[in-house]
């Protein structure tokens, strides 16, 4: 299994950080009839594992990009401990993208060190930290390979390590396992979410899988389309660590049934 790791510093700090989304609206085009998302209010506390689920086109990805400072709000705002997130700051909120987006021209370890070097970290220190982070995701021996030599699952671990290397307060994951096959998706997903949870890492994770949304979450944010809004938040109070048995409980089935009905497209326009 994975090497043990000391609890992340973020958990030891006294003040608990909050990521607040306040009355957020985003329009990609000023003239668009309908905003991509509107009226979104959400608070995420440090240490929480939040999943976001919703039908296609509900704006989950837009919400996540806004939370990371990649999109500026048309109205409302994103605040981290009361300070507006005006632009991306990976030390506050770091991304893991669905398509990994590792740089194929850089070795794995250089990919992981990249964010640290962008932040002005000394090269040697950055590489050391990157190797440590690769150990954390169980890929210490792949540090000097190129991404193209790794399987999809391993590449996504590298992308997670790249984000974690910056010790972000919040980790923003955009369907991180969407491109993987079912088997890898389940095993990697379970393993990574468990270690992220154990490390006290706050995570916002977008998924379109009902099981993932329930199994990993402290809290599920359900969105609806046309326009994109939050329709419900559901707390999942199942204690950690969670065993696969949880999936066979009646509580799990109820949650799944509820989510299933909530994210069914109800009109033709939502179906597209």
């Amino acid at each position: 299994m994975l090497p043990n790791r000391t609890v992340r510093e973020t958990k030891e700090t006294k003040m608990i950080s909050h990521l607040n989304v306040e009355n957020l609206e985003i329009r990609y085009n000023v003239n668009a009839a309908e905003p991509a998302i509107t009226g979104v209010n959400l608070e995420i506390k440090q240490g929480e594992f939040v999943t976001v689920i919703g039908p296609s086109g509900c704006g989950k990805s837009t919400l996540l990009h806004a939370m990371g400072g990649m999109l500026s709000p048309s109205s409302g705002g994103i605040y981290l401990d009361g300070i507006e997130m005006a632009r991306p700051d990976p030390r506050q909120a770091a991304f893991v993208f669905q398509d990994y987006s590792l740089f194929p021209w850089k070795k794995v370890v250089d990919n992981v060190a990249m964010g640290l070097r962008f932040a002005g970290e000394d090269k040697k220190v950055a590489l050391e930290k990157a190797r440590a982070e690769l150990g954390f995701v169980g890929l210490a021996d792949k540090a000097d390979k190129y991404p193209g030599e790794l399987s999809g699952g391993m590449q996504q671990r590298v992308a997670v390590a790249r984000a974690l290397a910056l010790k972000p307060k919040f980790l923003l994951m955009d369907e991180p396992f969407g491109a993987l096959d079912e088997q890898t998706r389940r095993s990697l997903g379970q393993e990574l979410t468990q270690i992220l949870h154990d490390a006290g890492q706050s995570v916002v994770l977008i998924t379109h899988s009902l099981e993932e949304a329930i199994f990993w979450a402290d809290r599920i944010v359900v969105m609806k389309a046309g326009p994109g809004e939050i329709s419900k938040e559901i707390v999942v109070d199942e204690p950690w660590p969670r065993s696969l048995e949880f999936m066979t409980t009646a509580r799990f089935d109820d949650l799944r049934a509820e989510l299933f009905h909530r994210i069914q497209p109800t009109t033709a326009s939502e179906a597209k």
Binding site: I26, R27, Y28, V30, M70, L71, S72, P73, S74, S75, R87
Partner: protein, 271 residues
């Protein structure tokens, strides 16, 4: 408070508007180049005797096509040599390319030789071509054909390689014979790359013909350019150079349009 969303780093420019604007500026730039050339030659900043100037080239153009049959002769000789060279290049390049592409054993044995020959400067062998094919059209045809066929061969191989294996599997799963898969999968699948390969074949055959004509021949565009330049008749040399350039660029553009038609189905498959 309504703010425009911050741009993602995607290009937000309308591509067709950009292309039109670029075409306009490009035309202006080319015109500007000729105007500047004329002006610099007129004020004596560049030596008209060795670098000519646009108005002198235009005058020479009129003269060369009015009285002088040399020009027509050179152009038709070159075209004739090029066509023969290209036919030979296709006749060798296509079957050789297909053989290399479709038979793993032949490919393993000979592909590296083809790649090697493609890579080294064939101009090295010019003196030997002259020994074998003499001072006339023979050398130009042979040299053009060699440059052309290597390009065609490599492009045919690349074209067949670019066909996705799943199409072969479909063909055989539906009981297609080798001939069926050749006609229905290989030829259409490789057609765009082969078409592009023919263009590279023509272009390289043309280059080969011109080079050989400059080196040994006593006919053709290459020969005339050399003779005019040696006699300091730069204006006439420039006329032939510009005609060759325009011909290649026009042919290349036409080929590009044809290729776009041929590969239309590809974009619809992908999206």
């Amino acid at each position: 408070m309504v703010k425009a969303p911050r741009k993602l780093p995607a290009a937000r420019l309308d591509p067709s508007a950009l292309a039109r604007k670029a075409a306009l500026y490009r035309t202006l730039l080319v015109i500007g180049f000729f105007v500047l050339w004329e002006v610099l030659a007129n004020i004596g900043a560049i030596d008209e005797r060795s670098a000519s100037k646009p108005t002198a080239i235009l005058a020479a153009f009129g003269e060369m096509f009015a009285g002088n049959t040399d020009t027509y002769q050179a152009l038709s000789d070159t075209l004739y040599v090029l066509v023969i060279a290209f036919i030979i290049a296709v006749a060798i390049g296509m079957p050789l390319g297909l053989a290399l592409a479709l038979n793993a054993t032949i490919r393993e044995a000979y592909m590296s030789i083809v790649i090697y020959l493609l890579g080294i400067p064939k101009t090295i062998f010019l003196p030997l071509f002259v020994l074998f094919f003499g001072l006339g059209n023979g050398s130009a045809i042979a040299f053009g054909a060699v440059l052309g066929f290597l390009q065609i061969t490599v492009n045919v191989v690349a074209g067949v390689d670019s066909i996705e294996p799943r199409f072969f599997r479909v063909a055989s799963a539906f009981g297609g014979s080798k001939w069926h898969s050749f006609v229905h999968v290989i030829l259409p699948g490789a057609a765009p790359a082969i078409f592009a390969g023919l263009w590279h074949g023509v272009r390289n055959a043309f280059i080969g013909v011109l080079i050989a004509q400059m080196f040994v021949s006593n006919i053709g565009i290459g020969y005339l350019v050399k003779v005019y330049t040696n006699n300091f008749n730069i204006d006439s040399a420039m006329v032939l150079i510009i005609i060759s350039a325009v011909a290649v660029i026009l042919l290349g553009t036409l080929w590009e349009l044809g290729e776009a038609r041929l590969t239309k189905w590809k974009s619809t498959v992908r999206s």
